[in-house]
C-alpha cells in the first residue's frame, strides 16, 4: 500500500474562487492510501514545493497527488520536487482542478464536488503507480546515408566535418544523382557540374566518408543509436581498389550499343562503362546484361587491355554488415513516365522530350555536345514549346499523374526557355502554364527576366493535344487571357514532367519502419517543427525523398538533417521515456498483432524457452518492446487481446482505477 500525500493548490483565487479547497483536502484524507492531506495558496511556489518535500520526509510518503493546474503546466515541476524529496518522479499524479474544473464551472458546490472526484481518481491511480526509471542505450557513432545525390552528399559532408564517420550507399555506379545530369542551375545559372563535382571530390577524399557505390541496403534491424544494416555491394566485375579509371577497357569494349542511362537513352555506351567523366568513384562497371563475356563467356577483351588487372568476371554480390547510430534517407526523385500521356505524343515523336532530357541535350557533355538539336533529325529547332504541369496537380487519373505540385518545374522551365533564347535568338519559345510559382529568393525576378529580357512567350493556358505531322509537331492549346485557341507548328516540345519519389523508397521505408504518405514521400515527425526527422527515432530525411525540392532547399535540409544526426551521435547514451509499453512474456502468445500497429517498429519477437507446468520446457515466440524506440502511445496495448501488453505509467489497472473512482 502506498502512503499518499495530497496537496491541494488554491492557485490564489484561480482555484479557491470556485473550489472549496479546504473541503477537497478534507475529503481526500479518507481515501485509501492517503496519510496526509493539505492545501496551500501556491503549490508550485518554492514554499509550496518545500511543503511537499517536508511532508514526504515527515509522513514517509511514497506517492504524491497534487490537485492544481493542468499537468501540462506543472507536472514536470512537481516531478522534480518529488525527485528532490527522494521519491521517484513518476510517483506523482496531478488532478487538474483548474483548467478542467474551477475555470469552467461557476458554482462553488459543483466545482468542489468535481474537484473531489478528480482528486479521488488521481489518488486511485497513484495507489497503483510504480517507480519508473528511464532506460539507457548506447550510441554507435557512425551514420549511414542512403542515396548519393546532392542531398546525401551534403549530409555526409556535414556529418563528416563534425568528426563522425559516415557511409554513403548509392545504387548507381557513381554518386552525384540527378544534379550531375543537369546543365545549369537556377536562379544563378551556375553550371551544375562546376558546383557539384568539387563536392563529389570532397566526399571521395574525406577520411570520415566511405562510399558504397553500386550498392543497396537490404536489411535494417535495431533502433535509434543501434542500427544493424546489411548492405549489398552488387558485383561490378571490376576490382574497385585496383581500377584507375583510365578508360582503356571502355574504348576497347566491342559492345557499343547499350542505351546510355546517364543520357536518358539518347545515345549509347559500352558494356563496360564509366557513367561520366567526373564519376566518383571513377571506376569502370560491367553491365552484366550487355557484356558478352558474362553472358556467354566469349570476349574478355577488357581484361586483356586492363593494365591494372582490375577486371574480375567472377566477382559476386557482396554483403556487408555494419552498425550505425543514425540513418539518413536521401533517396531522391525521378521524373514520372510520360508513356501514358497520349495527348502529348511523347511515345510517338522523338521531338517531344522531357525537361531532364532537355538538360542533357543542352549539356556540353551530353549526347549532342551541348548543341540544341531535334533528336529526330539533328536539325536546329526554331519553334519550341514548353508545357508545364505535365502530370503534376493531376487528380483525375492516379495512374498517369500526381496530385501534388512538383515545385521545381516552373523555375527550370523558365531557365530552359531563357537559355534557349539566349543561345539561339532565332528561336521562338512558348511556355504554357497554369500558374507560375516562383516563391524563392530571386526566383520571380528570374522568371520575369525570361519574359522581359529574353522574350519568352508565356501563355496562360494548357496544351490540349500535340499531333506529329511531317517534321512538325502540331500543338493545339488554349490561350486563356486572349480567349482563343492557339495552333502552333513546333519543332520541339519539352514536357515538364512531374517528379515522384524513387521506387526504392517504399521497400526501404518498410525496412526502416518509417512511415510514408500515399505518394510514397517519407513522412516527417512533425510537418513544421520536426521537418527533417522521420517519426521513427534515429531515421532522418534529406532532400526530395520527403517532398519535391529544388537544390537550395535540398542542401539546406541536408544540412539540417546532418545537424540532427550530429546532435544524436554526440551523445554517449540515449535516455528514454519510461512510460513505454511492456510485454508480459508469460501471457504473450507471439501473434504479432501488436507489432502490426506499432508506428515505431519498437516491437520485435524472440523465441524464448519457458518451463512448463508439467516440468517440460517449451519454446515460444514472444514480443519484446525496445524501450529506446517505443514512444508510449499504447496502440499495442489495445491490439493485444490477452492484455499481455501494458503501458507503464498508463497501465490498464491504473486507467480502470480512475474510471472506477470517477464513476462511483
Amino acid at each position: 500500500m502506498q502512503r499518499v500525500g495530497v496537496f491541494v493548490c488554491w492557485c490564489g483565487s484561480n482555484i479557491a474562487g470556485t473550489v472549496d479547497v479546504q473541503a477537497v483536502s478534507e475529503a481526500l484524507k479518507n481515501e485509501p492510501g492517503v496519510v496526509f492531506s493539505t492545501n496551500y495558496q501556491y503549490m508550485c511556489s518554492q514554499a509550496g514545493q518545500d511543503m511537499i518535500k517536508n511532508a514526504v520526509k515527515e509522513h514517509r510518503l511514497t506517492g504524491i497527488v497534487v490537485c492544481s493546474c493542468s499537468p501540462r503546466m506543472h507536472e514536470a515541476t512537481f516531478r522534480k520536487t518529488a525527485a528532490a524529496a527522494g521519491i521517484n518522479p513518476y510517483m506523482v499524479e496531478i488532478a487538474n482542478i483548474r483548467e478542467q474544473c474551477s475555470w469552467v464551472h461557476k458554482d462553488m458546490l459543483t466545482g468542489t464536488e468535481k474537484a473531489i472526484i478528480l482528486g479521488k481518481a488521481a489518488v486511485a491511480k497513484v495507489n497503483l503507480n510504480t517507480p519508473l526509471i528511464p532506460g539507457e542505450s548506447p550510441v554507435t557513432k557512425r551514420a549511414l546515408v542512403i542515396g548519393g545525390g546532392i542531398a546525401g552528399i551534403q549530409t555526409a559532408l556535414d556529418i563528416a566535418d563534425a568528426g563522425f564517420p559516415v557511409d554513403i550507399v548509392e545504387k548507381q555506379p557513381t554518386i552525384g544523382g540527378k544534379m550531375a545530369q543537369l546543365d545549369k542551375t537556377f536562379p544563378t545559372l551556375d553550371c551544375a557540374a562546376c558546383i557539384l563535382t568539387p563536392k563529389m571530390v570532397d566526399v571521395a577524399q574525406n577520411e570520415n566518408i566511405r562510399i558504397f557505390s553500386y550498392s543497396e541496403v537490404t536489411e535494417v534491424k535495431g533502433f535509434v543509436g543501434n542500427f544493424d544494416v546489411t548492405i549489398k555491394k552488387k558485383a561490378r566485375f571490376v576490382n574497385e581498389d585496383i581500377c584507375t579509371g583510365c578508360g582503356a577497357c571502355v574504348e576497347k569494349c566491342p559492345m557499343k550499343k547499350v542505351p546510355n542511362e546517364f543520357n536518358l537513352g539518347m545515345d549509347n555506351r559500352h558494356a563496360i562503362y564509366i557513367p561520366f567523366a567526373q564519376a566518383v568513384p571513377k571506376v569502370a562497371t560491367i553491365d552484366p546484361n550487355a557484356c558478352n563475356m558474362l553472358k556467354n563467356g566469349k570476349c574478355g577483351l577488357c581484361a586483356r587491355v586492363c593494365a591494372a588487372g582490375a577486371i574480375d568476371y567472377k566477382q559476386k554480390d557482396q554483403f556487408i554488415e555494419e552498425k550505425y547510430g543514425a540513418i539518413v534517407v536521401a533517396t531522391g526523385f525521378n521524373p514520372i513516365s510520360m508513356e501514358k500521356f497520349d495527348e502529348y505524343a511523347y511515345s510517338q515523336s522523338k521531338d517531344v522530350i522531357t525537361s531532364l532530357e532537355f538538360e542533357r541535350l543542352t549539356n556540353a557533355a551530353g549526347p549532342s555536345a551541348g548543341k540544341l538539336i531535334r533528336p529526330s533529325d539533328g536539325k536546329h529547332p526554331h519553334t519550341i514549346v514548353f508545357v508545364q504541369c505535365v502530370g503534376s496537380r493531376c487528380e483525375s487519373c492516379a495512374e498517369k499523374g500526381k496530385e501534388y505540385c512538383s515545385k521545381i518545374c516552373c523555375m527550370y522551365t523558365a531557365k530552359h526557355a531563357m537559355l534557349t533564347r539566349d543561345k539561339y535568338p532565332d528561336t521562338e519559345v512558348y511556355v504554357f502554364y497554369i500558374d507560375v510559382r516562383t516563391p524563392g529568393k530571386n526566383f520571380d525576378e528570374f522568371y520575369r527576366r525570361a519574359v522581359e529580357e529574353y522574350g519568352v512567350k508565356y501563355v496562360k493556358g494548357m496544351v490540349g493535344k500535340i499531333v506529329p505531322e511531317g517534321d512538325k509537331l502540331k500543338v493545339q492549346a488554349s490561350d486563356l487571357i486572349a480567349n482563343r485557341q492557339l495552333h502552333i507548328d513546333a519543332d520541339l516540345v519539352v514536357l515538364a514532367a512531374a517528379i515522384e519519389p524513387d521506387k526504392s523508397a517504399r521497400p526501404l521505408a518498410t525496412m526502416l519502419t518509417a512511415s510514408m504518405d500515399t505518394n510514397d514521400f517519407f513522412t516527417e515527425a512533425h510537418p513544421k517543427l520536426r521537418p527533417v526527422e522521420s517519426p521513427t527515432a534515429g531515421v532522418f530525411l534529406s532532400g526530395a525523398c520527403q517532398g519535391p525540392k529544388d537544390i537550395p532547399e535540398t542542401v539546406s535540409q541536408a544540412g539540417a538533417a546532418a545537424a540532427k544526426v550530429i546532435g544524436l551521435l554526440a551523445k554517449d547514451k540515449l535516455m528514454g521515456n519510461p512510460c513505454v509499453a511492456q510485454s508480459d512474456e508469460l501471457m504473450c502468445n507471439g501473434c504479432s498483432t501488436c507489432a502490426n500497429v506499432c508506428p515505431y517498429g519498437a516491437i520485435s519477437y524472440e523465441d524464448k524457452e519457458f518451463r512448463m507446468p508439467d516440468r517440460t520446457t517449451k519454446i515460444r515466440r514472444v514480443a519484446a518492446v525496445n524501450p529506446a524506440v517505443c514512444q508510449g502511445c499504447g496502440a499495442c496495448t489495445v491490439a493485444c487481446p490477452s492484455g499481455a501488453m501494458d503501458l507503464k505509467g498508463f497501465a490498464n489497472s491504473q486507467i480502470m482505477a480512475e474510471v472506477d473512482a470517477i464513476c462511483k
Binding site: 469552467v104 496502440a635 474510471v659
Partner: protein
C-alpha cells in the same frame, strides 16, 4: 429526485497532446461545460481499450466520449487512425446489442480547439441527458 434534475455522468478520455490541451484551453478561455464531464488523460486516443468504456458504463457512466487529435495530426502519427477503426466497430456492435448509440462518441479536438471542446461536451451532455440514465449497460451491484 425530479426528472429535470437528472445529470448524466460522462467520462471523457482525452489524448494528452491535442484534446487534453484543448480541454485546458477551454478552461483558459473560461468556456463552461457541465461538471458531470470528467476527463481521464491518456497518452493517445488509441490507448483507450473497449474494456475501459464498458467499465465506465458498468460503474454508472451514462455516456463515454473519446477525444483525440484530428486524423493526420496524431502525435504518434497513426494512433487515432486505429482509434477510429476500433471505435467504429465497437460502437456499431453496441448499437447491434440495442445499446443507445448516442451514449458513445469519438470527437477530434485539437489543442487549439478549446471552443470546440466545450461545445462538444455541452452537446454530448445534452444528448446523453435526453436519453436518461444508462440502463442497458449498468451493473446494479454498483448502485448499491
Amino acid at each position: 429526485m425530479q426528472v429535470n434534475e437528472y445529470k448524466p455522468l460522462i467520462v471523457a478520455f482525452c489524448c494528452n497532446w491535442c484534446s487534453y490541451a484543448g480541454a485546458d484551453l477551454a478552461g483558459n478561455n473560461r468556456l463552461a461545460y457541465p461538471a458531470d464531464v470528467k476527463i481521464i488523460r491518456v497518452p493517445c486516443s488509441c490507448r483507450v481499450n473497449p474494456m475501459f468504456i464498458l467499465r465506465a458504463f458498468q460503474r454508472g457512466a451514462d455516456g463515454v466520449i473519446i477525444c483525440g487529435c484530428h486524423p493526420g495530426d496524431c502525435h504518434y502519427t497513426s494512433g487515432n487512425y486505429y482509434t477510429r477503426r476500433r471505435m467504429a466497430a465497437l460502437f456499431s456492435m453496441l448499437d447491434f446489442l440495442g445499446i443507445e448509440r448516442e451514449r458513445t462518441r469519438v470527437e477530434w479536438v485539437s489543442a487549439a480547439e478549446g471552443a470546440k471542446f466545450a461545445a462538444t461536451m455541452n452537446d454530448f451532455a445534452q444528448k446523453v441527458a435526453a436519453l436518461g440514465e444508462n440502463k442497458r449497460l449498468e451493473d446494479l451491484r454498483c448502485k448499491k
